[in-house]
Symmetry: C2
Subunit: 443 residues, 2 copies
């Protein structure tokens, strides 16, 4: 038998709804959250929407004993709102800002100003390395007509890329946060299928919390029930996801959520429910563990790759919808700008050439002239800024689509190499550089 | 003896200077570059400043036979300008956009519009995985008074973070590009020390090219000699860096640069010289290689960590200078905005309250009123946009500084664990969570 070493890790994730002066009972709720964290002593605490650095710093002070290590991720205009507190030393941190994150002129939604991102912290838990990620994706304001869907899909795409590429050296991967996606939403499937991350709610041996693991519930007094419609009871959009490595197995022993209220307190911690997952790492110290599992993995791998091809293709379609929309918006901005310019030229012409003023004594009333000119300049400036913004959006969408196309090609190539397709050739890799494949031929 | 497997990889890096209609002889130079790449058949070609996607696509068509796999990285307004061509299949790509990249109002410098980034491609060379990176950092326009230095240092910081965190699973790492930094510049030292990347010019067994490996030389007809001053002969700012893995050793067998002219052609490929490196990978298939090397690595590791602490501290100082500057700029923008607002209120007051107009018959000449109001609005809008921009710059600089502080703390912790400091306790890790250390106490 192999030697096994077992480590338990308790993780909490909570969207704190910490908009100073706007969120209800903000200071009181922070005090409650701080007290709870001090008492519960989770190994890792992943917070979102800690919009004010002052709140983070006061929390850091409060948790100095229970969670001596912490990091606050700064981004955008306001900050990413992401914070991590840990009982274990944080050795390294890294922040990836999503390339797309709403529109600055949608100031009432505010997402653009938050500079949404995924923060990573590298922790050593005992002799193991854990890569811990915390993120918060763009909010969904209207599910039926969700104009931010392409942005959220690109964020999910970048999130899975970031986790996949940065976690190769880790024994354990934990992602916590407010994904703003329902369990079966495209971005969620993309994230879980590509990274192999497991949902602690689905994997847990024991669960105590809201029905269906919901984290935004109608029973929460801060929630406007109308906004949840048509999901009367609530939705599940906050997650703790995890995976092990060839060296480590991770199991979820228990999972819980708060239930819209906190005993002995007049209101809950936040408008979202807090999630807690009890994870158990089992390390197999024998070197050959990988080979023991190989047959089991290969059995289902072809099916998984095929599923992944479908999901990435679906995501690509969604990005194309976004591209079409961004192109239309840029076209509208360009047309409006050209009209503003034409108006300006016309005005200058009327003012300069008296006979154009159709015989009026004063060629152009001075006040109207200046007002019109100011309007033209305002149009020109606004449309120029919008043109720049939409071009950047287009580049980011095109970039994501290119990457998805390449990924689909590569996955299809992989599929062709599986035993089902080539029964006598299972382990042989296709020759490099001699097969153009799906990628090189498709454009 | 261990089994060894040897693979040769030829890499080219070139800044193409491909600004359509502005760069001299652009189409002819692209044709020359295409011909050369077709003929030379490098394994990997890393291009920078391919600003137009059309140029990339025509190059892709031309290189369809010699380099069937390619990727163009899109970013910013114009595009990142980064392209990769490869003989080996590209399995995956990922783009990291630097958080800081100059200022949009410095349009004549253009860096901001380029959306500088680092592009990554995962290649399989034989049975080995190579992570190939291509990047282009912010240009240095004035070495004596380099206002972009903090931005470039943060870019170098993010570049090393990105490479370090994404390359754990790779057998070989190659970075090529125009770093816009001299060999001993802070960002360059930071990058090489932290990642362990080796400079092919310094490591090569055989070199053929410009004196001191320079890549921006006075002999190049596209170069304005005055701009090189005080480096009369030229500077070295383009690099091919590489490293192996515990499983693989990488050696540089030869390296060459072009020398400011191309035989049988009236002008060179670009204003930068092209770099070619011949790398040799040797794979040790025995599992215990790591342990063979352990003593040798440990000997020099403490010294290297100490050096790294100094370099990160130096970088932190530079970021603090940038922070100070950004704060000052934001303050100026705020003050100007407040003055614009005060002017607007004053104007409205004069217009609204006749006795303020000091007895003049017409309280306020209408033309002046509108012109002044337009000016006030222009000031308000501009300062508002600048305020937003400087706040984002501040957040990014603060974020980098926080990460650097944490890294220094972690490195110092590592140093304390080395045999010199604790001779009887070399292999024991300090207990987790019980030692606040440099990180927790410093702020």
């Amino acid at each position: 038998m192999a030697n096994t070493e077992s480590v338990n890790v308790r993780v909490l994730s909570l969207n704190c709804w910490g908009i100073r002066y706007l969120s209800k009972h903000c200071p009181q709720r922070y005090a409650m959250i701080g007290d709870m964290l001090c008492k519960e002593e989770h190994d890792i605490v992943l917070l979102q929407e800690v919009w004010s650095e002052k709140d983070y710093l006061s929390m850091k002070k409060k948790l100095a004993c229970s969670h001596p290590h912490s990091h606050y991720f700064k981004s955008g205009v306001i900050g990413s709102g992401l914070a991590i507190f840990s009982k274990h030393r944080i050795h390294d941190t890294f922040l990836f800002r999503y390339s797309l994150n709403g529109y600055p002129y949608m100031a009432h939604h505010g997402d653009w100003f938050g500079g949404k991102a995924v923060g990573m912290a590298v922790l050593n838990i005992g002799s193991l390395t854990a890569n811990v990620y915390v993120t918060h994706l763009h909010a969904e304001y209207c599910r039926d007509k969700d104009s931010y869907l392409p942005h959220r899909v690109v964020q999910a795409w970048e999130l899975q890329q970031f986790i996949r590429h940065t976690s190769a050296g880790a024994d354990m991967v934990i992602l916590g946060g407010d994904l703003n996606m329902h369990p079966q939403d495209l971005g969620n499937r993309l994230l879980r299928s590509y990274t192999g991350l497991q949902d602690s709610y689905l994997e847990t041996a024991k669960f105590d919390g809201c029905e269906d693991g919901m984290t935004l519930i109608a029973d929460n007094p801060f929630i406007n029930k109308k906004e949840l419609c048509p999901f009367e009871k609530g939705i599940r959009i906050d997650y703790i996801l995890f995976k092990g490595s060839p060296k480590t197995d991770v199991y979820c022993d228990f999972m819980s959520t708060t239930k819209g209220s906190v005993p002995d307190h007049p209101f809950p911690y936040s408008d979202h429910e807090a999630l807690t997952a009890g994870l158990r790492l089992e390390t197999n110290t024998r070197a050959e563990i990988g080979s023991d599992r190989q047959p089991k993995i290969l059995d289902s791998a072809a099916g998984k790759v095929a599923e992944l091809v479908d999901i990435v293709t679906e995501a690509r379609t969604e990005v194309k919808v976004g591209l079409h929309c961004a192109e239309r918006m840029r076209y509208t901005a360009t047309r409006t700008g050209v009209m503003g310019l034409a108006l300006l030229f016309l005005e200058l012409a009327i003012a300069a050439v008296p006979w154009l003023a159709l015989g009026a004594e004063q060629p152009f009333p001075r006040t109207s002239f200046y007002l019109l000119a100011a309007l033209c300049f305002a149009i020109l400036l606004t449309t120029f800024l919008l043109y720049i913004f939409y071009t950047m959006e287009l580049k980011a969408l095109q970039g994501a689509e290119d990457q998805m196309r390449l990924a689909v090609g590569s996955l299809q190539e992989k599929l062709r190499g599986f035993p089902v397709a080539q029964p006598h050739n299972a382990q042989r890799r296709p020759p490099e550089g001699h097969e153009p494949g799906a990628l090189a031929t498709e454009k």
